[in-house]
């Protein structure tokens, strides 16, 4: 753990969110100053060379995404910063915006310059109102100090950053749904192509990037692409925030290179298992990725490492589960989430999540029939690959993954007509226990 945090350096210091702190203690806005001396294309090349991969979930190379943004067009271009952060188990952007907001503001300004945009919208989930207030106050200070607005640092570059508040919808995190929501409509995805890089916000070329992704941009400009890619394993470079929640002693956000293993994150960073109970499984990348088992804990927590182990790093939301967790209950809890959050645009997802949720409630409450297991499997497979956005696959994953790894628990529920692992942290009354 010799690693020195960069994104989250000094965030426990008083006043760490202020402009003065940022400028004096974190070399604030030096990256922007340097970026404005370069050609936009060179900036894109630098980000490409750094190997920065999107931190929003898909791990797509950021430089490439920017390169795709249509150049020859009279239309304005836009940066949309994805601060919707609604993937269960994820809370890293929350920390960055609350404790280091100027890093994001600087990242927005540099990114606008790189793709030729003059406006960045930060789409923040409605529930983060306390964060929004901090962000808006600091944006105002950045304007006053000349880091935003007209003729930034005397270079003739103009850039506005606005915060846009969502109103409670997980699906608004999907990039085209986010754009729809920004346009004042329901947060329902668009059919791709065209991709946002060609026709995004107001049908103009747009790059949608996660908060943590944009926060890395000033660091790359300031320290160089080689510095960045040297942190962590090849193709998985740069500092990374990990969100650890569930049954651990010290849940929280921890910054580490992606060479760190899941075991180190759980046992060293997060202090090990709560009450020293046995470890049962881990969800390594937010609720929508497959579970990993104890013998996979030595997997490096990188995009490629976790994928090789059969799951995904996703949004790096690690949810740790001890031996008290019933896997049927877990699937039921998450399918309640997916049923609630499905935007309803495509039938397999809208109807399928409802079916899965009801089936799981039935099995968990002890009313399940043997053929329900096949039905669960069948419905899940009728969602996977048949939907407009990645939500469908995500929704089926908790069911398919728990059925694959813990089928015996499902069978025991059906056989014994009850939950075979009723944890004491669950509700006493069935109404509140979700069935």
């Amino acid at each position: 753990m010799a690693y020195e945090p960069i994104l989250t350096s000094q965030i426990d210091q008083p006043g760490s969110s202020t402009l003065d702190f940022y400028v004096q203690r974190r070399r604030g806005y030096e990256g922007l100053r340097k970026a404005l001396t370069l050609q936009p294309n060179d900036l894109i090349e630098q980000v490409k060379a750094s190997g920065l991969r999107g931190r929003g979930g898909a791990g797509f190379p950021t430089g490439l995404k920017w390169q795709f943004v249509l150049k020859d067009t009279p239309k304005p271009k836009y940066i949309c910063c994805n601060a919707d952060e609604s993937e269960p188990g994820t809370f890293k952007d929350h920390v960055l915006m609350e404790r280091n907001p100027h890093l994001l503001i600087e990242g927005c300004a540099i990114s606008c310059y790189a793709i030729g945009a003059k406006v960045a919208y930060i789409y923040i989930r409605g529930e983060f109102y306390h964060v929004q207030q901090i962000l808006e106050a600091e944006i105002e200070k950045a304007y006053k100090a000349g880091f935003l607005g007209k003729n930034i640092l005397g270079t003739g570059f103009d850039c506005d950053v606005f915060v846009h508040r969502g109103a409670g919808a997980y699906e608004a995190g999907e990039e085209t749904a986010l754009i729809e929501s920004l346009e004042g409509k329901r947060a329902q995805p668009r059919i791709k192509p065209p991709f946002p890089a060609v026709a995004g916000l107001y049908q103009c070329p747009t790059a949608v990037n996660n908060v943590e992704t944009l926060c890395n941009v000033p660091l790359i400009v300031l320290n160089g692409p080689e510095w960045f890619s040297a942190i962590g394993p090849e193709k998985n470079g740069g500092p990374k925030l990990f969100c650890i929640s569930g049954h651990v002693k010290k849940p929280g956000v921890y910054e580490a290179p992606m060479s760190t293993t899941l075991r180190e994150l759980v046992y060293d960073y997060a202090g090990g298992m709560l009450d020293d109970r046995p470890f049962k499984a881990i969800i390594p990348g937010g609720s929508s990725v497959p579970l990993l088992l104890p013998d996979q804990l030595d997997t490096p927590a990188s995009f490629d490492g976790v994928q090789k182990a059969g799951s995904l790093l996703g949004s790096a939301g690690l949810i740790v589960l001890n031996d008290t967790v019933c896997m049927v209950w877990l699937a039921m809890n998450l399918l309640h989430f997916y049923r609630h959050e499905s935007c309803g645009k495509c039938t397999p997802c809208r109807e399928g999540t409802n079916w899965l949720s009801q089936l799981l409630e039935r099995i968990e409450s002890g009313e399940g029939r043997p053929k329900d297991l096949d039905l669960l499997f069948g419905v899940s497979n009728n969602i996977v690959g048949k939907t407009l956005c990645a939500f469908g696959d995500a929704a089926a994953t908790p069911v398919l993954s728990t059925m694959k790894l813990f089928r015996a628990e499902y069978e025991a529920h059906v056989r014994e007509g009850r939950c075979t692992l009723p944890a004491e942290w669950r509700a006493k009354h069935p109404v509140f226990a979700g069935h």
Partner: protein, 202 residues
Amino acid sequence: MSFHPQMEYAPAKFHKSARTLAEQGPAFAYTPENQARFDENVAHYPPDQRKSAVLYALYLAQSQQGYLTASAMSHVAQQIGCSAAEVEDVVSYYTMFFTKPVGTYVLNVCRTLSCALLGAERVTEEISAALNIKPGETDPTGTFTLIEVECLGACDRAPVVMVNDDWHERLGPDQVREFIENVRTRGAAAFTGCHLHKEVKA
């Protein structure tokens, strides 16, 4: 109309709309302060894209009146320059808008995995018992509304409860009754707020 000659025409069974109309409510217009806020916000977007300000406009109306009525939605539509149906479409999609009156304190208890692992189901159960209301209901004094919500993005401080725009974190089931009494007597001062800054370990 039936879709097939042999399909029975049973509008009562098949054509039931789940759509409920919002209450008309008294005449609504922004206060001058809110009008100024709206005008400032709508300028963030290109002049031909006023609809982008609809969520903001709705938040303003909701903060002014406590919940959204048909009159309020019409006023928002007029401000934006779109139809009232378009505004209603948006209101019905997002979870943070209310079309019925709610209590002074709306207790939004996170029920998703990380919070549930640390007792969120029991928190809801205890609040429900303490106030004698079910999720979705408001207590007779109009002080509390109980709502179950999905992940709030603060899973390391589970179980999390969002109270209006404020937060209360690490609310254990055993602390629920004391918490409710505290809110009754001390109001918003009873909330922990977002205690990220005290707890983040770099």
